[in-house]
Amino acid sequence: MLAKTLFFKYLHRSHTIIGLIVLYFFYMSTYFGTLTFFMPYLKVWESPSRHFVPSSEYAFNIDATLNEVVEKYHLANAKSIEITLPSFRDPLLRLSTESQNSLFIQPLTNEVLKVGREENLISIFFNELHTGSVIPLIGMPLMGAMSIGILFLTLGGFWLYWQKRKPTKGVKGNWKYTWLSWHKITGLGIIPYALVFACTGAFLGLMLSFSHPFAWSASNKKESNLRSLVVPIIFAQPKYTSSETKASMLPFSMLYKVAKTEYPRLEIVGATLYHYGKEGAKVRFKGFDKDNVAQTGRTNRLSITLDAVNGTVVEQKVLENTHRISRMLSAFYYFHFVPDETLGMRVVLACFGAVLAFCLVSGYLLWAEKNLHQKGWLGDLTNRVSIAVLIGIIPSSAIVPLLQWILAFDLFDKEIWVRGTFYAFWSFWLFYCVFERSIVTIISRMLQASAWFLLLAVLFHGLKSGFFIWKSFTLGAWTLFYMDTVFLVSALILFLLAKKVERTDLFYRYERKGVYDGY
């Protein structure tokens, strides 16, 4: 009995301490990870070349263009040409080879676009913040370790809840009681979500970054990247023989149709051309199984290979033939990246992400309650730094979409300006948190600033791209319209929150003692 109580106490204590360490890093990961769920839509919104109204079902026809493009851009010498078909992730059609910059083709006009430096600036930056790789070398393993911390907190927290015999002390209306109950409710609610994402995240963060030494020694100090060693083996490209004799290819749309009729369950996302334009050319259509999306994710694509000259089926890779481990790996990646899911699933996951962020914050507030009644400057300073990290991240990230549209697209070091502004602005809030006396003012200014940045981002997006929110509505460019709406609604919510903060007693409690009143 004693041992059990002691165990409970130790677990409780370590839950607090580990929680406080993990909190800041994992909050960042959760915040940006939640934004990353909307990456496909953000990608469309941030790049001017995607500002057009795609035809229904992202239809395209490159029959006439394909040969011309392959000829003009020296693609024929490449071993294979990868075609990514237009989809909700990217309404442009992409042609890429191993060595050159990808070519983007507008599916409506079949014109090859110059996309320059507009490519995925915000989404890649947010993704790097999510994975922690903005911190060189140690960033990703650090986030991986934090994911393991979250696994401990989730399981340990559940055990604490399960084993708790005594009813929680405290009166209703007491803030500590409120935070504890919210921490419990949200914590229990997101157990499956946290387990899935922290498990896969720990795998991606820790295993992939710690694989360098193994790759280094296995390749006799030639290669430290495990990926470049294993990719040629596990994702081996089929070797098709060809001759130098030129041959005329069947039109791409016809091959596409043949693939569709031969393999109706396959949802085609891309195609690979082997030895295009020569005798023995093959086209492999890849995609996922409509009924088994998780098992046929990016690591385990199903495919059908056709002969490009006469359209006969050369090879077909069906789900039943793939190895069980491949299917498991695919499902594993699917749970972290949700690659082929569209808006509905993403919104649900983002809601869970928001609940997880709130759970982390309520855990901090629970701990901060205790410090409100203790003397000393440490508690106050921790509160202020926490505000700078937990809330200051909102205005700092809201300035990024605004800068994307204010700065010129051909600025060669735009990426560094944008990223630098993010860090500079964030450190400004850190300074402002100790400079300004009133906690309420700090929080409401942060929220107001974020709201203004989002509003201005929508305005400058309209001014520069010409797609104002009403225009995207009338034209039916729904991705742009929804993104603008989301920004505007978020700005409104932030304004209301800023007003509410000023009227809530809660935040004034943190001002009773402060760095201003002396200790």
Partner: protein
């Protein structure tokens, strides 16, 4: 400019999106104001093949020269008379370096902007962090 290639799209597979790959653009000055340009993998030193390389003027962003790396052989290019960047295209990304000046110097010079953005923003960020420590230290000690 840091050459961290995110989403290195090996044949368009975004599989290990959480991964950094390093590539270097090597420029070796030769005689008679000619440079040899080649691309290498940072880790293995393997040479890149068939990538497009372009020399772009720093003054008016004109394309001065454009060609493909041929079978891993270094590309010999005459150094232009104005400040320029060397672009190498890899997958969806490009590697950019400021070009080497000819022996007699450029006839048209643009100020080097290589580290400008990085320096400015790093100074501002550090400034605020120093202010944070200064202000909080002042408050703790003097009250």
């Amino acid at each position: 400019m840091g050459i961290k290639l995110w989403f290195v799209l090996l044949l368009g597979t975004h599989l290990f999106a959480h991964k950094i790959e390093g590539l270097v653009l090597v420029m070796t000055p030769l005689e008679n104001d000619v440079i040899a340009i080649e691309g290498k993998m940072k880790g293995s030193g393997k040479k890149l093949e068939d990538n497009k390389v372009a020399l772009i003027s720093m003054i008016d962003k004109r394309v001065l020269f454009e060609d493909f790396l041929d079978g891993g052989k270094p590309l010999h290019v005459k150094i232009p008379q104005e400040s320029y960047w060397v672009y190498m295209y890899v997958g969806d990304q490009d590697v950019v370096e400021e070009g080497i000046a000819p022996k007699a110097g450029f006839s048209k010079m643009a100020t080097s902007q290589k580290e400008r953005a990085y320096r400015t923003m790093a100074m501002i960020t550090l400034g605020f962090i120093v202010l944070f420590f200064g202000v909080s230290g002042y408050r703790i000690i003097y009250y």
